[in-house]
């Protein structure tokens, strides 16, 4: 089978599965609804309860889950390849900690900085992620020559703990209800309520994916090391810069939409590599699609497993992701 044929076949298979999951997931919930009725245009909107549940209550949530899942999985693939580190996640470089600090500030000081109908928590969270990206990027490129991936990692990890300390401090100052709200945000919540936050986050994510589209072959070469990649024709520093900025921007947008949902960015890339190999021309699109389907399924579990109680999706992904991560560590060593 030719290489192109293999890429198209594998990615199409993932696309079909993901499409089915995204259409099917909104039909599942505490009230059962029928897809036939949802799309039955002979019933007026006001009388079509199934359609209302599907389009108003559940579809925004499923779309948010698929957008966040796709983004975190893709950012994980890109950052792992760029850092040559299979254990890197979209949150390794400090983006999520910055986002969390922004969100905490918005919740606890009840900031009113909403724009375009998007509330202040996602806005502040996105702003926080931009601050973190700026700091890490400035530190890593302060070296004379290009961008140091070692400094990126060290700065990211340090920034993560520093911001976590600030978050604890801010929480300590807060009263009980605000603190609870803040903790809830940290667990990840895809109940976005409307399409508006999705539309707000989408442009940043789409811009990042436009960059991802030109990266795959470069990511393959980077995994052989900077020197070999350069000798094979890769502008290494430029590629690393674009990879870092696009993956971080997308992560910031995704976290502002759904909170810092953990483990997606590491489980999905590894599962996909186990299934399809390491060619990033397949791993990146397949991982993106699988990330969407995976988080939609996790969120489906989150809202049905203890129904009518909805548990935060971050708990589900962590419960699946923690043991998986450990298994991975044992397998690698």
């Amino acid at each position: 089978m030719s290489i192109r044929r293999r890429i198209v076949t594998v990615v199409s298979a993932f696309a079909v599965v993901t499409a089915v999951v995204i259409v099917w997931a909104p039909t599942v919930g505490s009230t059962s609804i029928s897809l036939a009725r949802v799309f039955d245009t002979s019933i007026p909107w006001a009388d079509n309860v199934d359609a209302q549940i599907f389009f108003v209550a559940r579809l925004p949530r499923v779309l948010a889950a698929s957008l966040v899942g796709a983004t975190l999985a893709a950012a994980g693939v890109v950052l792992q390849a760029m850092l040559r580190n299979p254990l890197a996640t979209p949150f390794t470089l400090g983006v999520s900690a910055g986002a969390a600090l922004g969100a905490m500030l918005a919740v606890i000081f009840q900031l009113e900085v909403g724009v375009l109908g998007i509330s202040s928590v996602p806005i502040m969270s996105f702003a926080g992620s931009l601050v973190a990206i700026g700091i890490v990027y400035a530190l890593a490129s302060s070296q004379k020559r290009g961008l140091s991936t070692n400094v990126l990692l060290l700065a990211g990890v340090t920034l993560n703990s520093f911001f976590s300390a600030l978050i604890l401090f801010v929480q300590y100052l807060a009263d009980f209800t605000q603190s609870l709200r803040a903790v809830r945000w940290l667990m990840g919540d895809l109940d976005v309520g409307s399409y508006r936050p999705i539309v707000g986050a989408a442009p940043f994510i789409i811009a990042a994916f436009a960059v991802f589209a030109i990266l795959p072959r470069t990511l393959n070469l980077l995994s052989m090391g900077d020197d070999v990649a350069a000798a094979r024709g890769v502008e290494v520093v430029r590629a690393q810069r674009w990879a870092f900025l696009s993956a971080s921007l997308a992560t910031g947008a995704a976290v502002s939409l759904g909170g810092p949902v953990g483990f997606i960015g590491i489980i999905v890339p590894h599962l996909v590599r186990l299934l399809v190999g390491s060619d990033h021309r397949i791993v990146l699109p397949a991982g993106t699609l699988f990330g969407a389907a995976f988080l939609v399924m996790c969120d489906l579990l989150a809202r049905t497993i203890m129904a009518p109680l909805e548990i935060p999706v971050g708990i589900i992904t962590a419960l699946i992701g923690g043991p998986f991560f450990l298994w991975l560590l044992v397998k690698k060593s």
Binding site: S2, N220, V228, R232, G233, G277
Partner: protein, 265 residues
């Protein structure tokens, strides 16, 4: 033979105030040559190779590939004409030998172009030329040191380069694999007319396969020319502060260097 690559009085330092790692080096590599760059650790061999492959830019001087200054060429343009083989290759993820070799086609492909039948043919030819065709489907990390190095050389050949630069290609291999790789390099140069420059500190490897040598110490060229003229006890002494016996091996017919004792500098 016409000159393929000409380093014209190049110097390089890593930090502005740091030492000159390469200090006013002028060398010519002619078409079809098999040149050894010899010198002790820290003599600037690896840095010189980086300047020759354009992955670093000289602080002063210039490197000409044919008529073109490397500084004016993009990485992609250079990679179509010069390929590099490192001492060792460690992968962050698992790839098959064929995938590694196909990555050599990168500079010849457009942004969204996927390797076609012609590229696969070139990759298979490179695998055959290095005796690694039977390993095509194997995962790289399951190969032995010698097999890995031959696959990486195949990947460099798949770049269809005019010039192959090898940085201590046998330094991390045991004796058997050293012989395997050095024989391969000699054969590629002879049968496929691949021009090569090999940096090494293995005098006997250089003596056995290189027709010309460039001797480096402290970033400078001490001597350069045909192997039989350059590889003398005096030069070995200047290079390594070692008194050595240099003689023609009766069996192989090339020079052999036997270190005798360390001498003060």
């Amino acid at each position: 033979m016409p000159t393929l690559l000409w380093a014209d009085n190049v110097s390089f330092r890593y930090a502005p105030a740091g030492p000159q790692v390469v200090d006013g080096v002028t060398i010519r590599i002619s078409d079809g040559a098999l040149v050894g760059i010899l010198g002790p650790n820290g003599s600037g061999k690896t840095t010189l190779l980086r300047l020759l492959s354009g992955t670093r830019r000289p602080s002063s001087g210039r490197v000409l590939l044919g008529p073109d200054d490397l500084t004016n060429l993009s990485r992609r343009d250079i990679a179509r004409r010069i390929a590099v083989v490192p001492q060792e290759t460690e992968l962050a993820f698992e790839y098959s030998a064929l995938e590694i070799v196909l990555m050599g086609r990168h500079p010849h492909l457009g942004l969204f172009t996927v390797e076609g039948p012609a590229d696969i043919e070139i990759a298979m030819a490179a695998l055959s030329a290095t005796g690694t065709a039977p390993l095509a489907g194997r995962l790289f990390h399951t190969l032995s040191g010698g097999e890995k190095q031959r696959v990486v050389i195949a990947g460099a050949l798949a770049q269809s380069p005019q010039l192959l630069l090898l940085d201590e290609p046998t330094a991390s291999l045991d004796l058997g694999y050293q012989l395997e790789v050095s024989t391969l390099l000699q054969r590629l140069n002879r049968d496929q007319a691949v021009t090569m420059a090999i940096s090494t500190h293995d005098l006997n490897l250089a003596a056995s396969i290189c027709r010309e040598l460039i001797l480096m110490r402290d970033g400078r060229v001490i001597a350069a020319g045909p192997t039989n003229d350059v590889l003398t006890p005096e030069h070995v002494r200047v290079l390594y502060d070692v008194e050595a016996d240099v003689h023609v091996h009766h069996d192989t017919g090339h020079l052999t260097v036997v270190p005798v004792r360390r001498v003060p500098r």
